[in-house]
């Protein structure tokens, strides 16, 4: 009987990819005060059939989502050039555009690669900033579009674009009668091409990326107890890393990919451990006998970890060397601070800051010892920083439902990623993908 119920749990677990119907959409709620005016002229297509993706439309949406650009609507353009000889700077100056991107795509025969040519212009200086030729498979036009967005964004802002990255997130449903449904999903950073990589009737939590972006780790309760798993994205092969009595929680891959920080309560209280992934050897760091220690994260240099502990009464952020030793408290402002995520340049931490009775996403500047609150909603959690350090994806509640949202690390740009139906939470933004 018991075996049968275990098998039933197994049967409901699907580790292969299933296309999800509920894709995330996007609505910008706040941009910067004086966004740079940019135009992306629709890319021309010469070849057999119709293209499955609107390349210039994807690029426009990417740049718009950064909040730094005022993107021109196609209908407002006086002309829609796709080749350098038909670009007239005067027209675009009259329209107040500072930059213009044009492009064209050609393919000789069905089934052959698509040749893409694109040019980025500085309208005021009358100068070409980028002129490139790329070859792409017809099926990877979305990847190609994000790649062009990355290059254009870098040229215009000096920050590497993170439009080609992906994200993990969890969806949950309360079915009633003590039944629940959980799903781990992977999608492009803009919410497109979402697919489920794990489904279960028991909770799935704390998804995180390996530094090479090829694997993910998470906590799954599928055996009716929490266990940490690692899973390859290609093929879905996975391995159970820990299954100790008590908590097995909050995995975090070291920057070199060789170790994993995690939380285990096998000694009675939740403590931070580092596992050597090759030998599976565990080392406890920064632990306190009675306190809750959780949410370890590696600092970008891999030399220390930050984590949450309630050793002083309420949750606060602490730091400890990866080799162990003395623990240093980092947060002082607010009622509590938790779930820190380092900014890639090491300048600060993004965390959940409790101010009176509300939970906001905040940035702790480590040099100035100053906390800057970035969001104004009440139940913000699970911050995840983009690979280029410019944006933070997080989970919040809208009309009682969990949704994903994003804010720039200076708090100036905000957008929501509303989804249909289910509760969406725990976004984890991928590293740069090769």
């Amino acid at each position: 009987m018991k075996l049968l119920s275990q098998m039933a749990v197994f049967a409901t677990l699907l580790v292969f990819s299933v296309l999800s119907r509920a894709e995330l959409s996007m609505e910008i709620t706040q941009g910067i005060d004086n966004p740079t005016p940019v135009a992306v002229s629709p890319f021309a297509w010469q070849g057999p059939g119709v293209l499955s993706e609107d390349v210039s439309g994807i690029i426009t949406a990417d740049l718009e989502r950064s909040g730094m650009f005022d993107m021109m609507a196609k209908g407002d353009m006086l002309s829609q050039p796709s080749r350098p000889q038909s670009v007239f700077f005067r027209d675009w100056r009259a329209l107040g555009r500072e930059y213009l991107l044009i492009g064209n795509m050609t393919s000789a025969k069905e089934g052959q690669a698509v040749q893409v040519e694109y040019y980025l212009y500085d309208i005021f200086r009358g100068k070409i900033l980028l002129a490139k030729k790329l070859t792409a498979n017809k099926k990877s036009l979305r990847d190609l579009s994000h790649r062009i967005s990355d290059e254009v964004f870098f040229k215009l802002s000096g920050i590497p674009g993170a439009f080609s990255t992906k994200m993990l997130y969890i969806t949950g449903q309360v079915l009633g009668g003590g039944k629940y449904k959980y799903q781990l999903n992977v999608a492009d950073a803009d919410g497109a091409r979402a697919k489920s990589i794990l489904k279960s009737d028991e909770p799935i939590m704390s998804p995180t990326w390996s530094p090479d972006g090829k694997e993910v780790a998470y906590v799954s309760f599928e055996s009716r107890r929490p266990a940490i798993y690692r899973q390859r994205l290609a093929g879905g092969k996975r391995q159970k890393l820990t299954n100790f009595k008590g908590l097995n929680s909050a995995p975090s891959w070291s920057p070199d990919g060789k170790k994993m920080a995690m939380v285990l309560s096998k000694d009675g209280s939740p403590d931070i451990y580092i596992m050597d992934l090759a030998t599976k050897k565990l080392t406890k760091v920064g632990s306190h006998r009675f306190a809750i220690d959780t949410e370890p994260q590696w600092m970008p240099d891999g030399k220390s970890l930050v984590f949450t502990s309630d050793r002083s009464g309420r949750p606060q952020i602490y730091q400890v060397a990866a080799t162990g030793g003395k623990v240093k408290r980092l947060t002082a402002q607010g009622r509590s601070n938790s779930r820190a995520r380092p900014i890639p340049d090491g300048s600060g931490l993004i965390l959940i800051h409790q101010d009176d009775d509300a939970y906001h996403i905040a940035r702790l500047d480590l040099k100035r010892q100053q906390t800057y609150i970035l969001t104004s909603t009440q139940l913000d959690e699970s911050p995840s920083v983009s690979a280029n350090g410019s944006m933070v994806m997080y989970a919040t509640k809208k009309n009682g439902k969990g949704i994903l949202a994003a804010v720039s690390i200076d708090g100036r740009v905000k957008f929501n990623l509303p989804a249909e139906g289910r509760d969406v939470r725990e976004p984890a933004w991928s590293p740069f993908l090769k």
Partner: protein, 174 residues
């Protein structure tokens, strides 16, 4: 109604069934009681998911001798925000539970939960602390530690979506 300690009746039923030589008594009792052949007042409990499908009025009647007082004990224990200490009401209910468990070989599972405020991983640890605190109290009363399994679910399995007070809880399930 939802929180009444009907399950303890089942523990006693289990004890009785051990005498009959069954090795599978727990599943037996759950399958006989989970079905639709129940009295209507217990069949449609609202969906809080506390294992109330274990309620079975027929079985309760069968083993009712001497356990009437246990009917008054609760199987869901509530906590203050970001706390895992037990209220005096919880303690007096646990005293009844402890007495029943000491006189049986039944095992129970303590499932800790948290409300949605604060980070998910912290809440997971907090909910496990809550379950562990209940376990510790029961073992101090003399219940064997081997009879109690604990787990924390954090904020992942809300009893009532958005209701903080009802979600900060430990549920005692068979």
């Amino acid at each position: 109604m939802l929180n009444k300690l009907k399950f303890l009746s089942l523990i006693f039923a289990s004890v009785l069934m051990v005498a009959c030589g069954s090795t599978d008594q727990k599943e037996d009792s759950s399958s006989t009681n989970g079905a639709d052949d129940q009295t209507t007042d217990t069949a449609m409990v609202s969906g809080a998911g506390d294992g109330s499908d274990m309620e079975g009025s027929d079985l309760t009647a069968e083993v009712a001798t001497g356990v009437d007082s246990l009917e008054q004990a609760l199987t869901v224990y509530y906590f203050e925000f970001d706390q895992y200490s037990l209220s005096s009401e919880t303690k007096s209910n646990l005293d009844i539970v402890a007495t029943a468990l000491k006189n049986s070989t039944a095992t129970v599972r303590l499932e800790g939960h948290a409300d949605e405020r604060g980070s998910r991983e912290y809440n997971l640890a907090l909910s496990e602390k809550r379950a562990e605190t209940v376990k510790k109290y029961l073992t101090i009363q003399g219940v064997a530690a081997s009879q109690i399994e604990t787990i924390g679910y954090g904020e992942e399995k809300p009893a009532v979506v958005g209701n903080h007070n009802q979600n900060r809880r430990v549920e005692l399930v068979k």
